[in-house]
């Protein structure tokens, strides 16, 4: 455990170092443009001339301006510190100021996204599990549906999203929560379906034969063998599923009015050219995903330990 933490920290530290080093070349052009406007002498002096010169040359010729790249308002690549500050400004600081649920707080937006994620996850896993049961029980359903489940994942959901929203409002579903959850479940159901089909099929011929010698009923076979045998698979797919549901919720926030949620923050950040807002929302999303996956992982370990599985 501590060994893992140590390695993660080391790798993390080296990523931060590389990141800091990369900031200079990534931001040098913007930094020079800004310096030029303040009247500083830049070599070469005009942006048009600089266009075809490599960043390394620019850095070599304008050493005194490299540092400027680390404090830009609109960096191409912000520094980790800038991202951290932005994250803190929109989360921790908000909490300290007692404005946790303000619209400027990422906690508020994260909460909105989390709700869609939750409903999408619930819907997606239900579809996935029910579908898997149907597929395992009926060969016709398997042969008909399975290829289409695969094809469905090749369809870019973003293309369907606007239609889903308009259609669901036409059939009388108010609000944008449902379409968001639907889009989220679209990405979530597939890993759960595939995992559960595998899991429900995981009993060996011998384990099935044993129940046959007891002349067990179909329900007994399902409850006493297929279900317990599928649990490890279920959790593995739930972990993939919840991450997919989160991505789906964020995707679903783009065409749903971009009003609130992490997806909306990303879009608005993009529209107003505030890269820091994008980076902060991006990291918030990944952290949220990490937390959700960890929660399921813990539940898995608890349950599987009770079921006597080795970790």
């Amino acid at each position: 455990m501590t060994k893992t933490a140590l390695s993660v920290l080391t790798v993390l530290a080296s990523i931060v170092v590389i990141w800091y080093l990369a900031v200079a070349p990534m931001n040098i052009r913007v930094a020079l443009d800004q310096a030029e406007r303040t009247g500083a002498a830049i070599d070469p002096p005009s942006a048009v001339e600089r266009r075809n010169i490599s960043v390394w040359t620019l850095m070599a010729q304008n050493r005194e301006h490299i540092a400027d790249g680390y404090s830009l308002e609109r960096p191409r690549l912000p520094t980790p510190a800038q991202v951290g500050q932005e994250l803190w400004r929109t989360t921790g600081e908000m909490v300290l100021k007692g404005r946790t649920w303000s619209k400027r707080s990422l906690i508020y937006h994260g909460w909105i996204t989390l709700q869609s994620t939750f409903w999408g996850f619930l819907l997606g896993t239900t579809i996935g599990i029910v579908g898997a049961i149907a597929i395992v029980q009926s060969r016709v359903i398997e042969m008909s549906v399975m290829p289409w489940a695969i094809i469905s994942q090749a369809i870019p959901i973003v293309a369907l999203a606007p239609m889903i929203i308009v259609l669901s409002s036409q059939v009388g579903i108010e609000g944008r929560g449902f379409p968001k959850a639907l889009i989220s479940s679209y990405l979530c159901f597939f890993p759960v379906l595939v995992g559960m089909v595998k899991g429900l099929r995981s009993p060996t011929a011998e384990q099935l034969d044993l129940l046959k010698t007891y002349s067990a009923s179909g329900v007994q076979r399902f409850m006493k063998l297929r279900v317990p045998a599928s649990l490890p698979y279920l959790f593995t797919s739930l972990k993939i599923g919840i991450a997919a549901a989160l991505v789906g919720a964020i995707v679903g926030e783009l065409p749903t009015g971009a009003i609130s949620g992490l997806g909306a923050r990303i879009l608005i950040g993009d529209q107003f050219g505030t890269p820091l807002a994008i980076w902060a929302a991006l990291f918030a999303a990944a952290i949220l995903a990490g937390v959700l996956v960890t929660v399921i992982d813990r539940a898995q370990q608890m349950l599987l330990r009770r079921m006597g599985m080795r970790s």
């Binding site: 060996t204 011998e206 384990q207 034969d209 044993l210 129940l211 046959k212 010698t213 007891y214 002349s215 067990a216 007994q220 006493k224 063998l225 317990p228 045998a229 649990l231 079921m307 006597g308 599985m309 080795r310």
Partner: protein, 260 residues
């Protein structure tokens, strides 16, 4: 003493269709097993021992001939839970403790809870696994797992026991011990036992009847009535009578191989 027939196979054939062509696992096999018999099946690998046992258990559908168990079809016998089956591999459910593995058939057959507990206790003692109820299969050695799977087959009341190489994974000493236990159990309960093994001494030591099988196609090449007395201490195996029977089995077996 009138002997009733427990298992009756007549011209039993079973052909598997594989992509390499048909495999004749059993061909025209006829055999009568009386109630209370202890019958061992021995023969080279792939000669159809397991297949034969699975036909008795209605786990495999014969492609020819007929098989009757307790006077009814194998299917009906299975539906009426007429037998307990011990598989070649222990096949315990890894998510159940030893105790709950043994409980499985009792749950399915709807025994009352108190009786389940009593039976589990009894059979686990019988196979020397008392105190291991709460362990999971992987926490036990291969031999202990095999014993648990035997306990599972003994837990409910079936008067036929079908055992497919139950002691294959055990070392000689443990095996001797379990052989003795099995004989005692058989003597006490008067169950009918069909027992597959690779070991000649084991077959001779345990059975009232030894069925020697040979492969391609699988058929019965010899049926040996065992003349040894019912009471068999372990060192009966050093007697000449024992060695004679063993010799006859070995000769029958050798005939099924292509060596020499």
């Amino acid at each position: 003493m009138t002997t009733e027939t427990a298992i009756k196979a007549e011209n039993l054939s079973l052909t598997f269709q594989t992509n390499d062509g048909p495999v004749h696992a059993l061909k025209d096999v006829s055999l009568d097993i009386n109630k209370g018999d202890f019958v061992s099946f021995i023969g080279p690998s792939g000669c159809g021992k397991t297949t034969f046992l699975r036909c008795m258990a209605d786990l495999e559908q014969p492609t020819g001939g007929s098989i009757m168990v307790n006077g009814v079809s194998a299917r009906e016998a299975r539906k009426s839970r007429a037998y307990g089956y011990v598989f070649q591999h222990a096949g315990l459910y890894p998510w159940r403790t030893i105790g709950r593995n043994v409980r499985l058939p009792l749950e399915i057959m709807g025994y009352p809870k108190a009786e389940q507990d009593a039976r589990i206790k009894k059979v686990l003692e019988l196979v020397d696994l008392a105190g291991f109820e709460k362990k999971f299969p992987w926490q036990l050695s291969g031999g202990m797992q095999q014993r648990a799977s035997i306990a599972r087959a003994l837990a409910f009341d079936a008067d036929i026991l079908l055992m497919d190489e139950p002691f294959g994974a055990l070392d000689e000493i443990v095996r001797d011990h379990l052989n003795e236990q099995l004989l005692k159990l058989w003597a006490k309960t008067q169950k009918t036992i069909a027992f597959v093994t690779h070991s000649i001494p084991e077959a001779v030591y345990l059975s009232t009847k030894i069925v020697v099988m040979s492969p391609r196609p699988g058929r019965i090449s010899d049926v040996i009535e065992n003349p040894l007395p019912a009471d068999r201490p372990l060192d009966i195996r050093d007697t000449q009578a024992f060695l004679d029977v063993a010799h006859r089995v070995r000769e029958g077996l050798r005939a099924g191989h292509s060596y020499d």
